[in-house]
Symmetry: C2
Amino acid sequence: MNSLEEMGKRAAEVKYRLQVLSTEEKNQALLLAAEGLVADREAILAANEADMDAGRAAGMHMGLLDRLRLDADRIDAMAQGLRQVAGLPDPVGKLLQQWERPNGLQLKKISVPLGVIGIIYESRPNVTADAFALCFKAGNSVILKGGSDAIRSNMAITKSLRDSLARAGVPADALQLIEATDRETAKAFMKCKAYIDVLIPRGSSGLIQTAVRESTIPIIETGTGNCHIYIDETADLTKAVKIVINAKTQRIGVCNACESLVLHEKVAEKFLHALQAELAHTVEIRGDQTVCGILPEAVPATEEDYGKEYLDYKLSAVTVGSLEEAIAHINRYSTHHSDAILTGDVSHGEQFTREIDSACVYVNASTRFTDGFEFGFGAEIGISTQKLHARGPMGLPELTTYKYIVEGNGQIR
Amino acid sequence: MNSLEEMGKRAAEVKYRLQVLSTEEKNQALLLAAEGLVADREAILAANEADMDAGRAAGMHMGLLDRLRLDADRIDAMAQGLRQVAGLPDPVGKLLQQWERPNGLQLKKISVPLGVIGIIYESRPNVTADAFALCFKAGNSVILKGGSDAIRSNMAITKSLRDSLARAGVPADALQLIEATDRETAKAFMKCKAYIDVLIPRGSSGLIQTAVRESTIPIIETGTGNCHIYIDETADLTKAVKIVINAKTQRIGVCNACESLVLHEKVAEKFLHALQAELAHTVEIRGDQTVCGILPEAVPATEEDYGKEYLDYKLSAVTVGSLEEAIAHINRYSTHHSDAILTGDVSHGEQFTREIDSACVYVNASTRFTDGFEFGFGAEIGISTQKLHARGPMGLPELTTYKYIVEGNGQIR
């Protein structure tokens, strides 16, 4: 028996205990875990320093080093995150539906934990605590596999959390971390269908595509966002410039950033000049012929540009003659994450939200709001770009499933 | 470009038109399709006769030949099925949730079609019409792949349905049938992730396991049922005998049939004698030592028996000393489809329904009620044994997903 299999068995064994924990027991454990992280600060920081040393020695970029770095404030923020999850409503045991059949059978549909959740993630060590807290609050056992860069930090955080679980009288195996960080282990993990109910890959599109190909466990695809903003002929162009700049530049490396502009030809020129006046050439625009005619500094766009998630100071731009053309273009090139129309015409907004096939469809707002916290969920485990189970930002209820309870008095068919 | 890819493209193209069809348009098309099936009866029966001839020539068993056979009544029943689906509530466009954020953003969560659904099924040709009707009513485009035995019948039914769609002014490509019936095509179909949103394999556990391994499309696993009935020490044994006989023998080849008995040791002897008095040795009982001691005709059970879906006149039986032991046994060996407790103690029923991790958990009723029609859904596309998206019987709402519509007046982050 290999170690992954042992971990799977342990997780599957404790899931039955976890799914019947009371809200009070779960919250108590989360609060103890928050205290524990703060108490274990020195050990966690020492482990993180070793990860940072290894990163520096390997020539890791500043940006990645910053994502990897922990300090007292970041550990406090992790602890605060656990307390926040303790404060959220328990998604388990909700009566979703109830009815009676003519034969007298009483049916109830009740929310229950998914069981065992596997999560593969990269880089930031705080995900270890966040992902554990959400899975645990929803009554699940979780097996985490982080990246090699953060392995020492992740191990120290996991040790602290597991110690706290034991102190709270809850099975420590509610949280397990895979310590091997190679790709082969990741692939083997994706085949542990006998023990894991759901796998959530969080990270690069390479990781997610590997999971799509390799996993026999049902997965929830997260993340890739080629988000569009369509500037309708009736848009308020002053607001439109602000929204596009916000969606493109407020944080460039995130999945809800705008990557593609679609412009009604009647307003393309006025809008692009106003946009460029604000952007001052900080964003490279890759446009079609019309766009390049308006902005001589624009780079001619290729077919590939229209489908691309740049995660960079780049933006594709295409002009269209009608709302219908805009919708067809977006449905074709979108990753179906978040797409927006900016319009002064209510019926255009309605048509757009009806016909665009994306998780989140916006009217007159920045795509940057696609986020569990911004939606008011109080938490987020990721943003689903698939259609099964969950779509868009996933909070605690998305970490549950349901079961039917059928009560009778001897009914047979 | 191969033909699967062409079909995928056509399905993906029409899905945008299907998802905005009104309820009226969809129902009208379903009613025309029902009329069409009746009008095309001769052609469908001739195609079916050719399938039957081929089946007989290949030495197909009587049972399978009967599943394959169509006659005027069965075609009428298919047409009636389409009319029933027309009469069901439209699952698309339902406002599932609505709220406002402090920044003024207005959020709505709305049910929408999944998009393109792939279904792989075996044998019975009526599934062609049933599966089409449900997918279509939920606004989806569907690509079907039936078994080779029924290919001529499936082609004739598909032609009839597509002709009716065209007559109704709806894209005929809402329904496509893959005419190749080899396994390689099935595997290639499972990789068409670019065009298909969800794949539902319906059939043997071999087919489903192939889909788990091969599919890059998210799948919904259906069907395998090792359903348990636990006879508690407080059970009404007269009712218990009736329920077990119903669950085991009313139809032996179905996934909600009982395959495994769990008996409290205090009532095992009395119950088994009463059961055998009714069964009169028509069912082979494979039991543990205690069971074999009570019933000399019982066959000693192996470990494998406890986990088996016999689909036959066979039943495993194990004795336990407590409710907790029964729950642990069932959670270990169940396929998490449907499991029942027969008890006179309300608190035992509550503990069982809380702790058993199955899609449908029964108290004092036959497991045979796990069925979309018996649950009152008015339809069923299959019974999910996985936890993502849908669990247990799936009706029309399970063929939809949702999207978030976010309306603002210029909000940025």
